[in-house]
Structures are given as C-alpha cells and as structure tokens.
C-alpha cells in the first residue's frame, strides 16, 4: 500500500477538499526543496544535513499518508544517524522514485 487514504480522510474532515489540496501541494513543494538538501548532503558527505532533510520529508509525508516516501525517508534518517553512509545512495534513489509517485498521486507532478 503506497498511500494511506485514512490520512487524507483525516485532513478532509478538518478542512474539506480545499485543505487536502493545499496540504498535499505544500507537501510536494516542500519535499522537492528538501530533496535538494538531501542530494547536496549526500554529495558533501554531510550526514547530519541528510538526516535533517529526510526528517522533514518524513513528517510531511505522514500528514498526507505518502507511505512509500515515509518509509524511504525513515530508512535514510536511520542510516544517516547510524553513520551508515554506504547505504544512503541506494535509499535516496528509492526515495526519488517514491516522490515521483507521490507527485503523480497528488496531481502536482511537473510535466
């Protein structure tokens, strides 16, 4: 299961379809920025920067039930905090795929 519909239903109960649209758009926009930080952190071998960026992605993904993004981000955070740098590039590649799927799912993917 890639997406948790209960998470979206929770947001909808709070503020209707309008809030769902705004929160999911903000999730995608913010996560795109954080992905830049993730890539920069990997390139600079800065595990703390990687951990911080994926931690933020993780929090936002949870709000909208983007489970694959949440899972990948959690694994990267644990690898970064555990100083297992060698695991990170493959996990980041998986996160990129999960992010692309989330962008498609929430209808905010770039052409």
């Amino acid at each position: 299961m890639e997406f948790d519909s209960e998470a979206v239903a929770r947001v909808r109960r709070l503020g209707g379809d309008d809030l769902v649209r705004r929160v999911s758009t903000l999730f995608i926009e913010t996560a795109r920025l954080r992905m830049t930080d993730v890539r920069g952190g990997v390139a600079a071998d800065d595990l703390q920067a990687v951990a911080r960026a994926v931690h933020s992605i993780r929090g936002s993904a949870g709000n909208v039930g983007a489970l694959a993004v949440l899972r990948c981000a959690t694994e990267i955070e644990q690898a970064a905090l555990g100083a297992r740098a060698e695991e990170i590039p493959a996990l980041v590649a998986r996160l990129e795929v999960a992010m692309a799927a989330a962008e498609g799912h929430f209808g905010t993917g770039q052409p």
Binding site: R10, L14, G15, L26, S56, G59, S60
Partner: protein, 121 residues
C-alpha cells in the same frame, strides 16, 4: 481566547495545526527559532508548540533561550516531533518541555486537550 504560538518550519504542518486549532486559540506562526524568539518577546503567547527539528536553531536551543528570558518564564512549551522513538517523552520532559506531541498529529481533539490542560483550562 488564549494565545498559542507555533514554531514549525514546514508550511504544511503549520497549515494543519492552524486548521486544528484556529477555532480554539489565537494563533501566531513562526517558521524558525529566531523568528519565534523575536516575535514572542513582542507578542507574548500563553503557550508555545515547538518543533524539535528546526534548521539553524533547533527546538531544544529555543527552549533554553525561552526559559532564560525574563519575559517568558515558566509558560508551557510543548515539543512537537516526528522522532517518535522509544524514550522520547522522558527525554523531552527531562530537557524542560512540559509535554510532548508526536507528528503526524492524528488526533486533533487530544492535541487541543493537551494544550488546554497545560493552560489550566
């Protein structure tokens, strides 16, 4: 209505917190620790919701500075975190937070109840 400040760098988290709390409290939003320290001195809040993982100045450092500020004193500060690891609650309470709420926040009624309890309402 009591005044609640949220210090949270992710705009989607702020938006959700506003949707949950706006009918119950007057809200001030800050996207960084530094903005919160400046803003809270000018506009004191009755309670602060403070994200742990903030860029530049993280939540625990903001907490220390707020506790040291004579204009803030012992007002309640609730930690917000997506850490959710075993022992988190004890760790945050030991740091000087009054309570702890893990993200994503799935129960808005529980969050409101936690804030009201801390405000003595």
């Amino acid at each position: 209505m009591k005044r609640v400040a949220m210090v949270e760098d992710n705009p989607d988290n702020r938006l959700l917190l506003c949707a949950m709390l706006e009918d119950h409290f007057v809200l001030d939003e800050y996207d960084s620790g530094l903005a919160a320290l400046t803003g809270l001195e000018a506009t004191p809040a009755d309670l602060v919701l403070l994200d742990i993982s903030l860029p530049e100045m993280d939540g625990p450092e903001v907490l220390v500075r707020l506790r040291a500020a004579p204009w803030f004193g012992a007002r309640p500060i609730i930690a917000l975190t997506a850490h959710a690891m075993a022992g988190d609650r004890e760790r945050f309470l030991a740091m000087g937070f009054d309570d702890y709420v893990s993200k994503p926040i799935v129960d808005d009624a529980a969050l409101i109840a936690t804030i009201q309890r801390q405000l003595g309402q």
